[in-house]
């Protein structure tokens, strides 16, 4: 296939537009003064970094609770998706197509509508202002995507090998965990990283269902943006994106390690 110089230009522009704002936010995060019309800051400071590390919202605690919450959603969402996909892809039953299409329905309900609609129910169930309630509403946002990934994966892996293992005398649980699950792992990892990102970047649902008790990065960042403190908004943005990238690359790394091992066998 011929390379087209115009196509190369498109890629260069796209990459530039992706990297530029990230570089600017990095610069802003250590800026003391950056008056108009200077192209670079006039003076730098580490006040923002100190505030990030020791300020009112303690970063380690904040990161731990945000990442912990998002990982919980990722794991639960992937397990639910794996079970749903197993039912629709490996079993025959009436209403199968209904389940397959139904999985997309939550995407048609805007997140704000869902959160305002469910709040009263969660208050009654005692789940409002709790981490369990927040996990539940984040799951609704994540599961449709996890199901899409796990459905494709389950259909591709099938259950022939698992059945062979059972014919050879393996217990069903052992056949699943030792034969099918390793085959599903690439899908499991991408479903988990999808679930993680969706939960990690939620704002509205955490605000309304968490009621201020459940603190996440998004919840801490937004007030800084509203107050117009660009340096502090930037330093929290950097921490937010860096931690998301870190977790994402851990998932990617695991995926690569798995694929390499798979190639060798």
């Amino acid at each position: 296939m011929k390379k087209h110089p115009l196509m190369k230009l498109v890629l260069v522009i796209a990459l530039g537009l992706i990297v530029l704002p990230m570089a600017v936010v990095l610069l802003w995060s250590v800026t003391r003064r950056w008056p108009w019309p200077l192209l670079l800051p006039e003076s730098y400071t580490l006040r923002t970094v100190r505030e990030l590390l020791t300020g009112s919202a303690s970063l380690p605690k904040l990161l731990l609770s945000s990442i912990g919450l998002a990982l919980t959603v990722a794991v639960l969402g992937t397990i639910i998706a794996m079970m749903t996909a197993r039912a629709t892809e490996l079993h025959e039953f009436r209403g199968k197509t209904l389940v397959r299409h139904g999985a997309f329905l939550p995407l048609l309900v805007p997140g704000t509508v869902f959160a305002m609609g469910i709040q009263l129910t969660l208050i009654r169930l005692g789940l409002s202002d709790t981490i369990a309630g927040v996990i539940l509403v984040h799951l609704i946002a994540a599961v449709p995507y996890c199901i899409t990934i796990m459905t494709d994966m389950t259909a591709a892996v099938g259950n022939k090998l698992e059945q062979q293992a059972m014919v050879l005398g393996a217990a069903p649980a052992r056949a699943f965990f030792e034969v099918t699950l390793p085959g599903l792992l690439p899908g499991v990892l991408s479903s988990m990283s999808m679930g993680f990102i969706l939960s990690y970047s939620q704002y509205f649902s955490t605000l309304i269902i968490g009621g201020g008790r459940v603190k996440t990065m998004a919840l801490v960042l937004v007030p800084y943006i509203q107050s117009g403190d660009r340096a502090l908004a930037s330093v929290y943005s950097v921490a937010f994106v860096a931690s998301a990238l870190l977790v994402f690359f851990v998932f990617e790394g695991l995926l690569h390690a798995l694929q390499k091992r798979g190639d060798r066998i």
Binding site: L105, T112, A233
Partner: protein
């Protein structure tokens, strides 16, 4: 019989989540007709819907949200497909560059708002570059993209996040079409442009359409970006609705729910129209599923 039990057990957690979604939708509908016993409201009425439709701020909010959703989704799809083709043509469908293209998918919306403020506000980097090049004499000459009723800042923020999303979402499918049928057309003498325009693009419409719908519904109901980058009036639908929802005046609650119901209706309607359009298009092209 044993299989039936297995299926029920496997689907139980999914069913529970769907029940939660159904409960939320049910609550919205019930409260929107003014039935909220906790507030002493027990007489169902359609008054709130009538009120909603006669409010100028609500109607302009519907317009604002539709406009944001339409511009964001159409432009992201066009530009996303362009980036995807560029990746395919340059043979960069995996590895380093692809990670960079995927990065915006991982960046939370609130952070994108920070990006847009730093680059495109009237004293942002773009205006400074304009000044340095002698294009502007004063920061006030830079177009007001933020906090204005045009909602261009919000739309640009969605574009920053969603163009890469579309590029990544359609990449695998477009790549395989382009490598097989597109390549065949080119071997038979079609130009690269023609093989894209007449083979790869039409075949990829269903995937692009799915990306379009996801972005449209998301941008239509999105909250943070119009809140952080938009005007105080008119507000986006979700922002306007939440304002009514949190009002100390309890009679605003059913009003907020009527707004939510209209929002739900609009997004389902759009999805339905859109879904049937894609379905018909697919059938006309002789596509299997």
């Amino acid at each position: 019989m044993k299989e039936k039990t297995a299926i029920i057990l496997l689907l139980a957690p999914f069913g529970l989540l769907m029940a939660v979604v159904a409960a939320a939708v049910g609550n919205v509908l019930v409260q929107s007709v003014g039935y909220i016993p906790a507030f002493g409201l027990t007489k169902p009425t359609l008054d709130y819907y009538l009120q909603v439709f006669t409010r100028a701020d609500f109607l302009s909010a519907v317009w604002v949200s539709l406009r944001i959703a339409l511009f964001s989704s159409v432009l992201s799809c066009i530009l996303g497909v362009l980036v995807s083709m560029a990746l395919i043509r340059c043979g960069k469908t995996r590895g380093g560059i692809l990670y960079a293209i995927r990065a915006p998918i991982l960046v939370p919306h609130a952070v994108v708002a920070v990006f847009i403020i730093q680059l495109l506000s009237q004293n942002g980097l773009a205006a400074r570059v304009g000044f340095a090049l002698g294009l502007l004499e004063d920061s006030a000459q830079f177009p007001q993209l933020l906090y204005t009723p045009g909602y261009w800042g919000t739309i640009l923020a969605y574009l920053w996040k969603e163009i890469p999303f579309v590029a990544y979402f359609v990449l695998a499918f477009m790549g395989s079409i382009s490598a097989t049928l597109g390549e065949a057309a080119e071997n038979l003498g079609a130009s690269a442009l023609r093989s894209f325009w007449e083979i790869t693009l039409p075949m990829s419409i269903p995937v692009i359409a799915r990306a379009f719908l996801i972005i449209f519904i998301f941008a239509f109901g999105g909250y943070e970006l119009p809140l952080l980058l938009g005007a105080t009036a008119p507000k986006a639908l979700s922002v306007q609705t939440y304002l009514a929802y949190t009002s100390p005046d309890l009679l605003q609650r059913p009003l907020a729910m009527a707004m939510n119901a209209v929002m739900l209706l609009l997004s389902s309607l759009l999805a339905l129209i859109f879904g049937s359009l894609v379905f018909r298009l697919n059938r006309r092209m002789g596509g299997g599923k």
